[in-house]
């Protein structure tokens, strides 16, 4: 353990500044931070197998019945499906909007471009609560208050900036001569977009898409404001349940399953994007 830890610290930014005692304290601090981040999740996971219907830690006894009580979990499964659908559609919309906006922002010059760019980034910076309130007010003006479509639109507003950012980064690196070459070889603009531009923007689209999906899937604030019966996302439902009925063990079980799902998803993504990254860097590295 210390064999592997010490060389890391030596090559770190504090190299030469602290002695062995300082180094030990530094290591303990890092360990404490890791524990602090992981502990709540571990607590929930462990507590979810408790025999008691209310949440206790350490758990008393062991049971898996909170995971198998399908009647109790029915609403959560519905909310999970709704969350998946919203996240998938919000990701698709964010990708479409993000691609277009990023290409315009990187390639066109027009007055007010900097202001427009800042505007598109504002959902990242502004308080989500303000955005949710504003959206609720705005949507009630046009007569569509809650439910699937408002939730989807609001999620897209929050997710698109991430796609804009990542695609912009890819688009800046894209050599315009590639598209000009395709044009001169006889490809019409739509064909050039499909054959050349999109494949080369793939890293940006992929990482932006993943961020958009996770942010939509995890969002509580906006989902809570715009939820309707039968159109409530899982995080919003969990929040509602926790505040209405208090912390019960079913909540912990749902959280445990959600954690497992997200880990699985990240594993799949890592597989896909990890391989993708290897392929692109193999090409880029030898240029």
């Amino acid at each position: 353990m210390s064999d592997t830890a010490i060389p890391q610290i030596r090559s770190g930014p504090l190299d030469g500044l602290i002695g062995p005692v300082g180094r030990a304290i530094w290591g303990a601090l890092i360990l404490a931070i890791c524990v602090f981040i992981l502990a709540p999740i571990l607590v929930v996971l462990v507590a979810s197998v408790s025999r008691t219907p209310y949440l206790t830690f350490p758990p008393s006894g062991f049971t898996l019945r909170w995971f198998t009580d399908l009647v109790e979990l029915r609403d959560y499964f519905a909310a999970f499906q709704f969350s998946l659908l919203v996240a998938a559609l919000a990701t698709a919309m964010s990708l479409a909007i993000g691609l277009w906006v990023a290409l315009v922002l990187t390639r066109r010059d027009f007055p007010g471009k900097a202001a427009l760019s800042a505007l598109f980034m504002s959902p990242i910076i502004l308080p989500e609560l303000a955005l949710a309130l504003g959206l609720l007010q705005y949507l009630s003006q046009i007569g569509a208050v809650r439910g699937m479509l408002p939730t989807l639109l609001a999620h897209s507003v929050v997710c698109a900036p991430y796609v804009i950012r990542t695609v912009q980064a890819s688009a800046l690196r894209l050599d315009r001569n590639l598209e000009d070459s395709a044009l001169s070889l006889g490809a019409k603009p739509a064909r050039v977009l499909w054959d050349v531009t999109l494949p080369l923007l793939k890293p940006g689209l992929l990482s932006g898409g993943i961020m958009a999906f996770v942010i939509s899937f995890d969002n509580v604030t906006i989902s809570l404001f715009l939820a309707a019966p039968g159109a409530t996302t899982l995080p919003a439902l969990l929040f509602n349940q926790a505040s209405e009925t208090g912390l019960n063990t079913t909540l912990a079980a749902v959280c445990a399953m959600l954690t497992a799902f997200m880990l699985l998803l990240m594993l799949v993504v890592e597989r896909l994007v990890g391989l993708e990254r290897m392929a692109t860097s193999a090409v880029a590295g030898k240029r």
């Binding site: 001169s184 006889g186 054959d195 090409v283 240029r287």
Partner: protein
């Protein structure tokens, strides 16, 4: 000579900047035309307008009798090779070469045959399945060339295609490119800032500066008889001698040099008698002799370079001249009296 490509009064601005200024060019069928000039002279802008990536503000571009000034690039059927080759990094060499045929909707079997032939022609059949990132610079260059030519374009447009290669490879590719162009007989416009490359490859050279064509002619004409100070100095070392047009008879001008010597020169557009002119003479054309013939002066120094001598000479009227001489034969020494002369055909007449 039938003109395959006509550029008529083409002008293009970028904001206040005049990038290309009323350029006229006529490129003959099968001709290799070099656009030569320093960076920022407008040569690449002109090429991009011919390719269709930019639309001129005014003027016309006519290809094979058809006005293509505002035709989009995908409808022009021109082959373009860029300085950085611009190969599609996510496609193999064969897919790159076949792309133009694929978008034309050609049958797969036909594409395979033509791509193979095109890669064979540039000696790259063995690299068909490699990605551009796995190819050397010279190989990428040849793939780009094959990709541009496989679509049987009306005209080949080359934007500094050799400048990213190292010196030895560049010279090899110059020869290869010239042979390929001759074999296929395709009309070619070639942009470069390298005067040696332009002279090696081109049938004719258009020397550009500040958006204008300063001189258009064969490499020998522009090198041996430049008509402006810019062309004379841009194409290599030159000697400039001040004088006056004493007599004009047709294209033959008798020039009275400072110090009194009279020499002949020819000018495509004769100056008015009595006007001040300059003569541009290359160092290798200047002959120094110990017999009183030509412009008198003193040898100031002689530098030995192996394959030649550089003699630094000052005329009695105070002008400095540089002469390249073979190391054999009469060898001047520092302080010698000598006379400088050159064949009339080797002097370019520059009008102020």
């Amino acid at each position: 000579m039938a003109a395959d490509l006509l550029v008529q009064g083409v002008t293009r601005r970028f904001g206040e900047q005049l990038a290309v200024d009323r350029v006229d060019l006529a490129v003959g069928q099968g001709e290799f035309l070099g656009l030569l000039g320093p960076s920022g002279c407008g040569k690449t802008t002109l090429l991009r307008m011919i390719a269709g990536f930019l639309v001129p503000d005014s003027g016309r571009i006519i290809c094979a009798g058809q006005d293509i000034t505002t035709l989009p690039p995908f409808a022009r059927n021109l082959g373009v090779v860029f300085q950085n080759y611009a190969l599609f990094p996510h496609m193999t060499a064969a897919e790159n070469v076949g792309y133009g045929l694929k978008v034309r909707g050609m049958a797969r079997a036909e594409i395979v045959t033509r791509v193979k032939a095109a890669l064979d022609r540039v000696n790259l059949a063995h690299a068909a399945d490699r990605l551009p990132g796995q190819l050397s610079g010279g190989m990428q260059q040849r793939v780009a060339l094959a990709r541009a030519m496989v679509i049987e374009p009306r005209i080949l447009l080359l934007d500094e295609p050799l400048s990213a290669l190292d010196k030895n490879l560049r010279e090899e590719m110059q020869v290869e490119l010239r042979l390929l162009q001759q074999r296929v007989g395709i009309t070619t416009v070639f942009v470069t800032h390298d005067q040696e490359e332009a002279m090696t490859l081109s049938d004719r050279i258009a020397v550009m500066q500040a958006g204008r064509v300063m001189q258009l002619g064969t490499p020998e004409e522009v090198y041996r008889r430049p008509i402006s100070r810019f062309v004379a100095t841009f194409l290599g070392t030159t000697n400039l001698l001040e004088g006056k047009a004493a007599r004009v008879a047709g294209n033959t001008v008798t020039v009275a040099l400072e110090g009194g010597a009279m020499v002949e020169a020819s000018a495509p557009v004769p100056p008015t008698p009595g006007s001040p002119v300059q003569l541009a003479v290359r160092p290798e054309s200047i002959l120094l002799r110990s017999t009183p013939e030509g412009v008198p002066g003193t040898v100031e120094d002689v530098l030995f370079q192996g394959h030649r001598l550089i003699a630094l000479f000052r005329t009695d009227s105070g002008q400095e001249l540089r002469s390249y001489m073979p190391p054999s034969g009469w060898r001047p020494a520092r302080g010698d009296r000598a006379w400088a002369s050159w064949p009339a055909a080797e002097a370019g007449l520059i009008q102020a």
